[in-house]
Symmetry: C2
Subunit: 376 residues, 2 copies
Amino acid sequence: MAAQDRGINFVETKYFSFSNPLNEFFLESGEKFGPITLAYETYGELNEEKSNAILVLHALSGDAHVAGFHKGENDPGWWDAMVGPGKGLDTEKYFVICSNILGGCKGSTGPSSINPRTNKQYGLDFPIITVKDIVNAQCHLINHLGIHKLLTVIGGSMGGMQVLQWAVSYPDRICSAIPIATALKHEPQQIAFNEVGRQAIMADPNWEMGNYYGHSVPAKGLSVARMIGHITYMSDISMGEKFGRNVKANKEQFKFSPEFEVEGYLKYRGDNFVKRFDANSYLYITKAIDRFDLLNGKKLGDVFKALKAKILVIAFKSDWLYPAYQSLEIVKACKLAGVDSSYCEISSTYGHDAFLLEIEEESQLIRDFLKTVSKR
Amino acid sequence: MAAQDRGINFVETKYFSFSNPLNEFFLESGEKFGPITLAYETYGELNEEKSNAILVLHALSGDAHVAGFHKGENDPGWWDAMVGPGKGLDTEKYFVICSNILGGCKGSTGPSSINPRTNKQYGLDFPIITVKDIVNAQCHLINHLGIHKLLTVIGGSMGGMQVLQWAVSYPDRICSAIPIATALKHEPQQIAFNEVGRQAIMADPNWEMGNYYGHSVPAKGLSVARMIGHITYMSDISMGEKFGRNVKANKEQFKFSPEFEVEGYLKYRGDNFVKRFDANSYLYITKAIDRFDLLNGKKLGDVFKALKAKILVIAFKSDWLYPAYQSLEIVKACKLAGVDSSYCEISSTYGHDAFLLEIEEESQLIRDFLKTVSKR
């Protein structure tokens, strides 16, 4: 069924740019950086009081295109099941905003963008950024849209880290927050998986210290990094159910070609990722994730000290990349700070991917939660 | 303290070769293969009845040097805490044998061995081998040593798969078996981790379709493969305890140099592995592991049908690479076949590595179990 037949309007990506010296932007490192462009999309209508805005925050490989269709494309946005008329984030009620993160490669300023000072892609001249920098840039966009207070900020995985960073950096600018399948800080096993992905990219001779634009990209390295990622996004149960020990149809003759379905799937996902993602963005964004630590020596009860917003924390049973105990730590931090918080662990075998797949229960939780926020 | 001061005699690696047509060796694939050399070491004395022999089976990166010291070396064998006078496998009582597996790179015939037909290293001309082939080759060695019946076969991880294969292929040649931290068949998540490692090796341009001998080895690819392995050998708890979010001392200036201790550790282990292991062996051995499936369409109760030996299955609580439920499946298969089997799950935070580290409890279990076997 074509997008229009399903009653969905096409969506277009918009761009917002801000630059020094008019809008000074200092990175967490102290470095001044700009100009910055953020690609973003909006869905639904902002009401007159500007009180119905929801900011959706995407994960590592996401982008601004959270829902609906771009003209000429067959696939909807990455969380289309959640965002739309009558859905969990109901665009008949709410004004939904999603922007590609700073450091990304889907329209926002990142290492593959042109550095106006050299007229060449930044590559490794792009500065190290943090989740705080990403959120600070988003705040410029929210200011630009004339919104003082967001009804909620919501996101899973690295999107959830941005949610938590909003709660810490801009406690007065949000009425509520929904961190999903995420953590207060990145733990060593999580860092380790990211680091192996980075090493795989940097081991690819095509990477050339990040100067590969216009030549061959480090496709094999990025593909391996993505394959590692995919293993951590699933669970042993979901892999067992999906693939078992099934042998691939049409196995190539070569001894070490993918033999089992699971191998073919991972290779396919890895190779496909290369077509749509920039290897340097992968390095910078995973580094931002690894540096994420809202505790950073603080007491747990002090993390959300200034927060008045209401929090709904969601985790998934089979998620071993961001296990439920890390979500419970967020809840504990909220409770210790007297923040109005609730927790729900959704039963699922999908692993970390569940936040994109367990839509029905997740939508219900979010819908009911938002009703209590709207009433305030 | 030097080895001799500790009362341990030096051990030397021995070699046993057999070849067609005198000792025909057919691979599981039907292919005839040879000559084959196995590097092996022995500890303790074989008694007159030849009834005190124990075969230790090593994991992916192990070798024949399980215990004691080689002359001129400072590090003992890989399971020295388990094998020796008065230890879990007491060399004052037992005659312990360990051989490097077929396909390995520590003295046994593998892809880095010289192919007598070409006078060059086999490389990818080496045939695909299976755990069954590995065990069949070991059986030739046991025959050569004049041992009809092994008191026990013992090993962890892939060593445990060999243990189980012995129980299936040679049920009358073993009195008992001790599979540790292992599985009846390799599941898709386990296959996936191995496949990503293989892809990392094959993505390295130095790999050159396996023809790298005498030139540069695929060091970066093999290092990435080993880093992935190491993550799966530990647990999130043990990584948390060992590294936390500690930042590395002496971080290099480069933006994407290892920043956290956990990154530095993995990189160190990866780079070190390259010095002692052959990348093609890594491909062949992980492939053998991935193909391992003792069920292969059989009913669970039929796997150990012919077995009279006594089985002790050991698993570790935090082992998520070979989780306890896979060990319980081995026990169930034994029970269904009426095999005398017992199970013990050792509390540990070390993850899969626990089989090399939780020596005290493991030794006690093994020592007591072997007493009941000896009495038979």
